[in-house]
Each structure stands twice: as structure tokens, then as C-alpha cells.
Amino acid sequence: MQTGFQNLNPAVSFVYLLLAVILSMVLLDPLLLMLGLVFVFGWCLLEKCALDGSLLWITGTGLFVLLLNPLLNHRGRTVLFYFFENPVTLESFLYGFTAAVSIMTVFLIFMVYNRIITPDKFMFLFSKRLPRTSLLIMMCLRFIPALQQQYRELSGVQRVKHPVGRKRRRRETLQEAFRLLTLLFSGAICGAIETAQSMRARGYGVYARRTGWREQRLTAADLLASVYILCTFLGTIGLWYGFDLKQDFFQTGWQPLGQPAIYIAAGFFYAFPILTEGVERLKWSFSNWNS
């Protein structure tokens, strides 16, 4: 069952994800990025992304960036302590923290991307403009499971061919694996040619244009969502550039940004998926309450 953000037009959700990645790379301010990270993390939880394994390595990457930065970067005024005669500065910690939060946010956004932009939505987005490329990708998506299946079948046949009970030498096993891979490869190539000839026989390439169809209308909700997304994004980016809010940590250290409005604008931008989901849940609970 798709709800909230997943129900939006793929184009709208794709653009939102793209803009979120851009904002997370451009707004280099620790407090702003933390705000983004919290909201994106909440979104991940709402969408039930498979976070258990990934959370570990995402945090690991963040820690790695945070801890390694002070060791590599020695610029900055406030020296905290010396590490093997190299100064470790507060500013480089700040920079490392900002970069770490930025990277973690981008990774989390991609986790949600994997959940929301399913391969069929991906095809819907690109098959009209780039028909041949999307055909190529589509066929690869089919071939990969097919090849894995073929590999299992081939190795099964090879196993059956050998008498049970005799322990094979390592050299034989290796030779077998070698032959198996070559077989799989040449079989795949021949299969591809055959498929192509069958496609041609059914008229592929006779008509210049290929069309595809997926039930997808631009609804009022989509329009509303795009207006909201654009307004908050442009507001944030406009404030950031308009007031030149980027700070060089190594020169000046960190201060809270001069325009508190940017925190509000960015907050509304990042909160968008949670808001849509929340509205749906509210509707659901009210509909139960009425009846």
C-alpha cells in the first residue's frame, strides 16, 4: 500500500530527492545540516528503510570523516592539543563535523531513494526522453536474474555428471569452475543474438517510436507539492546565497547564521515528506473516528 510521499508523481518525488541532495551538499553549516539529518532520518524510519545494516556503516563513515579531518587538516587558530607534534584544531573538528553530517545525510537520502524510486518509476521517468538507453537498462534488469538462474542450472548439471563419493582434487574443481564460466558467457552471448533476432521478427525497429504506458496523472496534490517544494527550496537557497551565509571555519570559527529565517525555510523543506505522511495518518484516524 502506497501512502503519502510514495503516492506522488515520480517526477515530483525524484526532483524532491535531487534537491534534497543538493541542499545537503551546499548548506555547509553544522546546525542547518543537523536539522536536515534529523528530518531525513525520521523520514527513513517512516518509510521503513532497511536500516539495520546500513546504519552501522553510515555512522562509521561519518565518524571516520569526523575523526580523520583534524589529523589531516592543521589550519585554524584554536589549538586543542598536539598529536605527534601536529596541532589539532577546534576549527578542523568543526569542519569535519559539518562534512560528516553532510555525507551521512546524503547517504540516508539515497536509502530513501532506493525505497521510493522503484525500477518501474525510474523507467517511467526516463523512457520517453531516452528510449534506447532505458531499453538497455530494462533488459539488463531482466538479464541479471536470468543469468543467475542459468548459472545455478549449469552448475547443477555439472554436479550431477560426476559420480558421488569420489573426492575431487582441487585442480579438477578449478578447471570445472573455469569451464562453467566460459560456458555461461558463450551461452549468454548466443542467447542474446537469438533474442535479438526474435525481437526483429516481431517488428522491433520497424517503427521509429516506441511507446510505454503507466497509469499516472498529474493530480492537484502533485501540483501543490511541487509549489511547496519549489518555494521552500528557493527560499532556503536564496537566503543562503543572498546573505552570503557561507563561513570559512578556518578563518572565523562558527557562529549561528545571521538569518534565523533560513533555519525555518530549510526545516519546512526537509519536513515535507514527514508532513505529507502525517496528513495522511491524520485523515485515516479522523475517518475512523467519524464512523
Binding site: V26, I144, A196
Partner: protein
């Protein structure tokens, strides 16, 4: 008329945007813009060239073989036959096909393994290796085993360094961090290099024979199209 202008205007717009971002020292977004732009010529040529169904299918199956090789080895860092398959494509079918197969393999395997901000970089790195193989081993007389192995060895490091670059751009800054990252990844890159050389030594002959046979028999993806 207006339709023809869309693309150049778009490209120039992206370049101007990248330049302003570069002046403001937002290096990470700039790098993504430039990487995506670098796909454009290959993408356009692929879309516009006359290609039969056989050629698209062949590219698709090569990309799938490359991608499939990556999935079972995902737990072992840097060990995969993907680079080898992309290299073979570049050698037999030319650099352009090599780029397409490399980029597609990266994109498609990540549809299974999970996309990340590294996807465009992987697409670029593997595409570049395919392109490079096509250019370096254009003439059949240059396809000798020692040279091939040398190329495979260098590719491991090239790929690793390209992937390091994005990570340093994202998380660090400054020249020393690049050197440190390149040095720190040596072990992984060595793994990748050795794996490439082993695959070349074992599988170059049989794979080359299969691909060359298909190419000659069906007249696919070759520069001189007498018989297509």
C-alpha cells in the same frame, strides 16, 4: 528550431552554474555536475546512432555479465570480474561500447546493491576504463598478454583513485588528504589489480574468441560495416 536549441542552452547553463559554484568553493556539487555532463556525448550518440536489435542486446548482455559478476563478490572488497568484462568489451568492440557497458554495469548493479552518491562516480570510472581499453588496444597487434596484464594492473589503481577522489571531495579538503587517501587505499587497489590480472590470464583467450566470433559472424559493432 527551438527544439534544437534546448540542449546547447541547457549545457551552457549547467557549465555556468558549475563555474559559479566552483568560484564559491562548492567542489562536491561541481564534480557531480561535470561527471553527469561527461556522460552526455556517449548518451546522445547511443540514442541517435543506427543500431540494430542485435547490437543493443549484445551491449545489454555484456553489461549484465559485468554486473552479475559484482553481486556475489559484494562482500569481498575490490574483488570482481566486472573490470575484466568491461575491458574485454572495450578491446573487441571499441571504446564507445566499452564506455556504455561500463557505465550501464555500474548503474544496473547498483539497482540491486543499492544506489548511493557514489553511483555516478562508479559509472564514470568503469566507463572510462572501457573507453581506455578501446583506445589503447585498438590495433590487434597490441593485444599481447604482458601489455594487457599491465593495463589491468594499472586499471585497478586508476579505478580506486577515482573513487577516492569523490570521498575526499565529500569529506575532506586540501592536497594532503588526497595523498593520504590514495596511500590508504593501496591494499584495496592492489586486490583489484591482482584480480584483474588473474582474470586476464585465465579468461582472456576464451572470452576473446567468443566475442570476436560474434562480431565477425554477425557484423556487430565493428567500425567497418561491410556486412551489416
Amino acid at each position: 528550431m527551438a527544439k534544437k536549441l534546448i540542449l546547447p542552452v541547457l549545457v551552457i547553463g549547467v557549465l555556468v552554474l558549475a563555474y559559479t559554484l566552483f568560484l564559491e568553493k562548492y567542489y562536491l556539487p561541481v564534480s557531480f555536475l561535470i561527471i553527469l555532463l561527461s556522460f552526455l556525448p556517449f548518451l546522445l550518440r547511443f540514442e541517435r546512432q543506427e543500431r540494430g536489435a542485435e547490437e543493443i542486446l549484445l551491449l545489454a548482455i555484456l553489461a549484465s555479465v559485468a554486473a552479475v559478476g559484482r553481486v556475489p563478490f559484494a562482500a569481498l572488497p575490490s574483488v570482481q570480474p566486472t573490470t575484466f568484462v568491461i575491458m574485454m568489451t572495450g578491446i573487441v568492440f571499441g571504446g564507445e561500447s566499452g564506455f556504455i557497458v561500463g557505465a550501464t554495469a555500474a548503474l544496473v548493479s547498483n539497482l540491486f546493491l543499492g544506489q548511493g552518491p557514489y553511483t555516478p562516480w562508479q559509472m564514470f570510472a568503469w566507463g572510462l576504463l572501457g573507453l581506455l581499453s578501446g583506445v589503447l588496444f585498438r590495433s590487434p597487434s597490441s593485444r599481447r598478454m604482458p601489455l594487457l596484464c599491465l593495463a589491468g594492473f594499472v586499471y585497478g589503481f586508476l579505478f580506486g583513485w577515482i573513487m577516492d577522489t569523490w570521498f575526499v571531495l565529500a569529506g575532506f579538503g586540501g592536497a594532503e588528504s588526497y595523498l593520504a587517501a590514495y596511500a590508504a587505499s593501496t591494499l584495496f587497489n592492489l586486490n583489484h589489480s591482482i584480480c584483474n590480472v588473474v582474470f586476464l590470464l585465465l579468461f582472456y583467450q576464451p572470452f576473446y574468441r567468443v566475442l570476436e566470433r560474434v562480431k565477425v559472424k554477425y557484423g556487430l559493432l565493428s567500425e567497418n560495416r561491410f556486412y551489416s
